[in-house]
């Protein structure tokens, strides 16, 4: 049995963190301090008021110095990409580096630095992280799994139920914890099924079935990330960027665009897996393997007090997110996930503190600071206008073409680095770029296109923790050997990635976007903020 989750460790040059630390720092210095600011950048920051704002804030004395500060901010981008991809610094520390640079290099006034590192989005994230801890502590995740699969029998029913339910669950609670729990469950179902079919004493493995079940689980949990802001910090980051342009999106509105996609994507995963593996699978009856799960359901007995309180808390928070109104924001209801478990004595405070991933939280806060740096320095506008000109030259500068291009790019990047890292780096550029494109659905449409695609990190094992989890924990119970090889992600994940993107393009952009629509005045409001330059 695999005891720990380790993604295949970076080998050779990629493992040399000191080297990448130096490379990242060198790139930052070269871009930030040595390369002269382009003419177009100087023009933007002086015409759009960014230079004036920096002078007003005493961050620069003249336009040239302001342009240099903008170059420093631009230098942070490749350094952050290198640090996120190689983990030359722990991810949380890379996040903290953003306000550190802002303070020490005078990139924002001190009050703005503090403000950028906090706000509704980090509060929301803190609550979501705490919710994950509490659900695992009280064992509600086990109850969910037995409810979901315990009643099923046969082959097709459990498969479809697994894929669709996991994509829905992945929209609301920690997909990684669910993956870590479900992978051994799935392998137990697999083993029980092949054992029933094997001659006595001799297990005849069915590798196609093992891969089929593991990838079905993994990809379904991945695609659930589109369903709601609670699915992941990357979604919350995008909402934070919209808020910076005075066009915040509430929880339920995101669900209107994303949640219908989740079960359809789950269904797509199931069908794709059946097409790929169906012919090679020898064991086409999972009922014997599911019997053990049924037994566990019986042994669990009735729901305990802790489970009831946790379930009630989750439903309360969800209702407040949807119906609570703008006054509560997203952070207000989320923070109840820290208070309720302690008051109702279902999880001790220390367990919540220790269970929260502060690494993740610092990373998200740092990403918001980087977004603010890019916005207030004019770097985001310069990058946005540069990229938009390039996209317009190939005919995808607006609307559907832009959304497809952005989601494809974001979808590629997310396989190589953290989903939140992709959103952190692309969001501050995508938002102004989409505003400049002039489509009335902006900047929401492009932001959604970018964020949705970060849930499709299927084809590299390092793309998302879910991939590493199914690889590490997906072992045959008798031999301890891995049922999946890293190259299998490329073999089976690449087509799944394409299918996921195409489905979002067709169902999301061409059907849901027009069906749900976008509020009047969305673009104008955001454009006003953009055109006021650094003043806001």
């Amino acid at each position: 049995m695999a005891h720990e989750v380790h993604a295949p460790t970076k080998k050779g040059i990629l493992a040399n963190k000191t080297l990448w630390l130096c490379i990242g720092a060198a790139v930052f210095v070269i871009v930030g301090f040595l390369i002269p600011p382009p003419e177009s950048l100087v023009k933007i920051i002086s015409d759009q008021g960014f230079a004036d704002q920096m002078i007003k804030w005493h961050l620069a004395h003249d336009v040239n110095e302001a342009a240099r500060k903008t170059m420093i901010v631009l230098g942070i981008i490749p350094m952050a990409v290198i640090f996120f991809a190689t983990e030359a610094l722990p991810i949380g520390l890379t996040g903290i580096l953003m306000p550190i640079l802002a303070y020490f290099l005078g990139l924002l006034p001190e009050k703005e630095v503090g403000k950028s590192f906090a706000g509704d989005a980090p509060m929301f994230l803190l609550g979501v992280l705490a919710m994950g801890v509490v659900v695992v502590e009280v064992g509600l995740h086990k109850r969910l799994a037995t409810w979901i699969l315990g009643w099923t029998r046969g082959f097709l029913v459990p498969v479809f139920v697994l894929c669709i339910s996991m994509s829905i669950i992945g929209s609301f609670i920690s997909a990684h914890a669910m993956c870590a729990f479900m992978t051994p469950v799935i392998m137990a179902v697999y083993y029980g099924s092949v054992l029933a079919k094997s001659p006595s004493g001799q297990v005849e493995h069915d590798p196609a079935l093992a891969k089929f079940l593991l990838f079905a689980l993994c990809f379904s949990l991945n695609v659930g990330g589109v369903g709601s802001p609670a699915a992941g910090g990357r979604n919350v980051l995008m909402m934070g960027f919209w808020e910076g342009y005075k066009v915040p999106m509430d929880f339920f509105t995101w669900m209107k665009y994303g949640f219908p996609l989740a079960p359809v994507l789950g269904l797509m995963v199931a069908v794709y897996m059946l097409v790929i593996f169906g012919r090679n699978i020898k064991t086409k009856d999972l009922t014997p393997g599911l019997a053990a799960l049924k037994e566990e359901t019986k042994q669990m007995g009735k729901m305990k007090y802790e489970e009831w309180v946790t379930l009630g808390m989750l439903l309360l928070i969800l209702l407040l997110w949807i119906f609570g109104g703008h006054g509560l924001g997203l952070g207000g209801p989320s923070l109840l996930a820290l208070l309720i478990p302690v008051i109702f004595r279902i999880t001790p405070w220390q367990k919540i503190l220790h269970g929260i991933s502060w690494d993740a939280w610092f990373m998200y806060c740092g990403a918001l600071t980087l977004g603010e740096l890019l916005k207030k320095s004019g770097a985001a506008m310069w990058l946005a206008s540069t990229f938009l000109d390039a996209l317009k030259s190939v005919g995808i500068g607006q609307g559907l073409g832009l959304w497809i291009g952005l989601s494809a790019f974001s979808g590629v990047m997310t396989n190589f680095m953290s989903d939140a890292g992709v959103t952190a780096l692309l969001g501050p550029i995508v938002v102004p770029m989409s505003i400049m494109s002039g489509h009335p659905a902006e900047p929401w449409a492009s932001g959604l296109a970018t964020a949705f695609a970060t849930s499709f990190a299927h084809f590299l094992i390092v793309g998302t923790p879910n991939n590493a989890i199914v690889y590490a924990l997906g072992t045959y119970p008798d031999t301890g050997k891995n049922a999946i090889e890293p190259v299998d992600f490329v073999k089976y994940g690449f087509v799944a990635w394409i299918l996921s993107l195409v489905l979002v393009w067709v169902l999301g952009f061409m059907v849901l976007f027009p069906l749900v629509g976008f509020p009047e005045g969305l673009l104008e409001t955001a454009r006003n903020v953009l055109m006021s330059g650094g003043a806001r």
Binding site: M1, V5, H176, A177, A180, S418, A420
Partner: protein
């Protein structure tokens, strides 16, 4: 609880056959080995074994050496030593090296079953704790 999966290791073939028959009737899943080396080879492909019932006195690789290897390579699998009167000290040494318990030969079958059940529960409880730790660890992953 799902039936315990037990490996019986003893160089006396007749004893192994007889015990296998008796234990199978008591709802245990049994595999057997006639030597320490054979036991280790079989465990490599049967890592889901819960408990090994291991004779202390065997030619070649004796019980203590086999125990050491099992604990090194398959640390979660519990081992119950079976010993004759002359080798009680070895059994005690085995306990110090991580064996779950020991029984004197000839052993009472109900007593053996009781210890197998306890050892199985301990092994599965450890596995469950490791699974829970992996889940908690997954909460700390940055997406």
């Amino acid at each position: 609880m799902q039936e315990p999966y037990v490996m019986l290791v003893d160089d006396e073939e007749a004893f192994v056959e007889a015990m296998t028959k008796r234990l199978s009737k008591r709802d245990l899943k049994i595999i057997s080995a006639l030597s320490g080396e054979e036991a280790l080879e079989k465990l490599d492909n049967h890592r889901d074994v819960d408990v090994v019932i291991l004779d202390v006195k065997m030619p070649g690789m004796d019980g203590i050496e086999t125990l050491r290897e099992i604990k090194a390579r398959f640390p979660l699998i519990e081992v119950i030593m079976l010993t004759g009167h002359a080798t009680v000290e070895n059994a005690v040494e085995g306990m110090k090296k991580g064996a779950f318990d020991y029984l004197m030969k000839p052993c009472d079958i109900d007593e053996l079953l009781k210890k197998v059940k306890e050892a199985t529960e301990k092994k599965r409880s450890h596995e469950e704790k490791i699974r829970e730790a992996a889940i908690r660890n997954a909460l700390s992953f940055v997406e």
